[in-house]
Each structure stands twice: as structure tokens, then as C-alpha cells.
Symmetry: C2
Subunit: 306 residues, 2 copies
Amino acid sequence: MNAPEKLPLFELSTWSTRQLADVEQALSRWVACPSGAPAPAGLGDAMRYAVLDGGKRLRPLLVMAACEAVGGNAQAALRSACAVELIHAYSLVHDDMPCMDNDVLRRGKPTVHVKFGQAQALLAGDALQALAFELLTPEDDSVSAATQAALCRMLALAAGFQGMAGGQAIDLASVGKPLSSEQLHEMHRLKTGALLQASVMMGAACGSIGAATQSALRDYGAAVGLAFQVVDDILDVTADSATLGKTAGKDAAQDKPTFVSLMGLDASRDYAQKLLAQALASLKASGLKNTDALSALADMLVNRSA
Amino acid sequence: MNAPEKLPLFELSTWSTRQLADVEQALSRWVACPSGAPAPAGLGDAMRYAVLDGGKRLRPLLVMAACEAVGGNAQAALRSACAVELIHAYSLVHDDMPCMDNDVLRRGKPTVHVKFGQAQALLAGDALQALAFELLTPEDDSVSAATQAALCRMLALAAGFQGMAGGQAIDLASVGKPLSSEQLHEMHRLKTGALLQASVMMGAACGSIGAATQSALRDYGAAVGLAFQVVDDILDVTADSATLGKTAGKDAAQDKPTFVSLMGLDASRDYAQKLLAQALASLKASGLKNTDALSALADMLVNRSA
């Protein structure tokens, strides 16, 4: 009798490297010039600087992993992966501006407005948002019209006042004010959670799934989105700036309410693990088989050190 | 024998009043809360302030007129009309900010950043852009998926680096520099022309037309878009601030290249009339019958006094 054949272990780093090769190549091509002429008067340089050569690409990876789980249209997923990353990139450009967080460094490099001036940074962010929707609506028949429309809607909701921009507005209004646990959750659900969850759901929308699976993936996305922020708050206290690639201890210095300031460090760590368990349970409940990448991403996200 | 029955003359003001009743009502409803909860933390107030109760609504009127000419889906046109106006409104909010034009008054009222602060103005602009794409992608079946996708693509192209944002970048780079006639045309083709032309083409995309008609309407849109800017440059010199509702003589004061500075006042006036003739000829070439509104809008646009 032979020993049972061992299944190959899923290697997140191998999987991510393969996915990101496609995503980086697509971003390079599309941010340079998706169709027609390149961006004029330095705008293209500012857009590329904001997007290329940096970032963990967590949102694109969630899109690709969700598409893989549902066996969806890879071309639609690649476009979605780039689109969510463009929205994320534009939000960083605008957030870093003097009237918002006034950050001069990001990923160890001067921020876009430091390098290109505030006006160009404002325009580059605006143009990146438009480009995200352009990528989702190719003229060829690689992505069905129904999928294009659904993806645009999901991205618009996640980026707008009911999502990221709304969360930013709550953030603005909350500096120096005590927030209840409920308010803090609501702020992060919108500010970072909505786009992370949309990444999962847009990947899933590249395939065809039933309502129960959709609902389970939505729960997974919500848990992962929230866990991401809880861990961010923990790392802001426990990691140093060099490891983070951004200024550590900034939240406390700016008197921003965080999960750590609200519930303490140990309880925050427990909470992150609880959210990870929830995310994994939702994956199981989805009934999908091919969830290795989604599961490993949730684990990485919660147990990361930077 | 009876006298030949007289056709009723087309009354632009009557037509516009009727269209704008629908558009204003839709904007009020959708900018307040298109679906789900209203915008949090003052963001909704800033968005509504930026959009409601002001503006000539020229772009929405072009959408409605083009849809009428092709006998298109009125619901799709109404959504498109609001979407182009949201893009226009967001661009004004961002343009007025201190790092761009630093304007404190618009339509006789404090600009959004003066009233709500720069951070909120930045966010309101960002959220208005996202909302435009949300409006174009309703979940119900009032607009076909193919039309939704086409409208999103047209709007993204017109708003982004190949359109409005690209034109702004050229504008930024051109202050105090002599521009050739070709460069000035290119700047305005992108900065204002692209969204005006897209308004026409989005209205037309609400119906079903052949390639020749589409091409003729594209020519109409290009002529009207350019004429709009030529007339703007003329009025900046000839009208007073009270009539314009904005600061007259600003272009010259800021040493911005204009059609008047390039070709003089009389030649600019001739040029505007030539563009009007081109626009009307394109309408004729379109083969469409119901072009009264498009034709009257072109005439109004060129012969306006404010």
C-alpha cells in the first residue's frame, strides 16, 4: 500500500509573484497610455510616479484571488485589479496633499505633490480615477457589457461617498475627537474596508456565482477589510518607520482615534485574529473549492509585520 | 384654399425649462442620496453645494437634445445629463482650489473650499466624480448593460488624461508662455471641448444610430465645444464681471493665452460664427430630423452675452 499522495502546499509568495508580474505589466502599459495619445504636459509622469514601482498591491491580489476562486474571466480580473489599484493610488496622492495629511514621503520617496507640485498632484489623482473606469470598459469584447457595467458600479460605490471618500470625510471630522467603537468601525468600513471588499467582489463578479456564495465572499471581504485596518493600527504602535516605509506613531501624534487607542494593544491583537477566523469561516461557507489564495492572503494580511 | 399651416417655431427657452426641471430634480435626488445612506460628515453638504442651484447646465442640455434627436432612452439620457454635470461640477471645485486657480467666488457665492475647507472640497470633488459613474450604472433594467458600459467609457475618456484633466495640465503648463494656434486649440479641445462633445455623444449613445450620423454628431460636438471656448475668451474681454457672474478680464490679468490674445477680437468673433456654421452644417449632414434643440443650443452658445 502506497503512502497517500501529499498535496502540494500553497505558496502565497510564488502565487503572488506570478499574479503581480501580470498586474505590473498591465499597469505599466495602461497608465502610460491605455488608448490614443499619452498624457500631456507632465501629467503622465505624475500619474506613473503615483502608481508604478511601489505598494504591496494587496487590492489587485484580492481581485485575482477572488477571480481564481470563482473561475472567472482573467482579462476582466486583470482590468479590475488595475482599476482598484488606480483608485487606491489616487487616494494616496490626494491624502498626502498639504490640505489633507501633508505627507512629504511615501514608500521612502517624495510624495507626488512634493515632486510635481500640488496642482499636478490634484490633476493626476483626478485623472487616475477616470482611468480606472476607462480600464473597466474596454471597447473590444474581452469583457461582457454586463460585467463591465457591474464592475463600474461596484467601483463607483466603493470609491465614492458611500465608500472611501465618505470614510475620509469621517476621518477628517474625527481628528482630536473621541469616537465610539461603532463610529470607528463605520469610518474604517468606508475608508479602507469598502475598496478592499470591492476588490474581492469585483474579482468574484468576473465569474458567475450564486447569491449564497456572493454573500459569503462579501463577509470574507468585510472581515479582511476590517482586519487590515486593525493590524495597521497595531503596526503604527509596534513597528518602526523603516519597517513600515512610512512614519510610525503618526496616529498618536495626530491624536487620531485608532483600534489600539480605543481597546488597547492586546485586545486589538485578539480582535485581528478573531477577524481572520471569521474571514476563513466565510471562505468555507462560500462552498468554493479554489480558495487557497484568498485564505493565504487573509492570513498574510493579519500576520504581517509591515 | 387654406393658407399653409405654420409650423410652431422652436422655443429654446421653453424647451430648456422643461428639460431642466427634470435634470434639477434628478440632481437634487441623486446628489443627496442615489442609493443607501446619505454622505457622512458634511461631505454631502459640500457635494450638494457644488452641484445644486447654479450653472447654466449647458452639458445636460446637450445630452438631452442629442438624445431627443436620435429618439433615445430618456432615462439613460437623464442619468447621462446628471453624470456630465457632476464631472463639470467636480472640475470647478478642484480648479477653484488655492493650488489651482485660487478663486474665492463662483456664481456670486463663496467657492466650495472657502465655504467647507480645502480638504472637504478635495473630497467632495473626488466623490462627485465617483458618483457620476454610479449614476451611469443603475442596478435596475432602465438602461441596458451595453449602454451603461458605453456611457462609462465615453465619460471616463472625456474626463481623464485624454480629455479634461489632460487639458488642465496643458493649461497649467502654459501660463505666461506663448502658445501656437495649434497648441491653443489642442488645450481647449481637451480642457472644455472633450466633455461638451461627450455630452452630445452620450446623448446620442442613448439611442441607436449609424456610423455616418455618429460621425456628423461628433463634428457638431467638436465645433460647439470649440466655439464655446472662443466665445468665453471674447466675453472675458467684452463683458463685465456682473454680467458674467465671474471675474472678467481674468485671462489677460493672469497672462493666459486666449483666442483673443492670439487672433484679436474681430477675428475671434468671425471664428465663432464660422464654428457655428460648421456645427449647423454637421447637424444637416447627420440626416437626423429632430435637431431643433441641438441647433438652437449651438446658436445660443455662440451668440450669448454671458
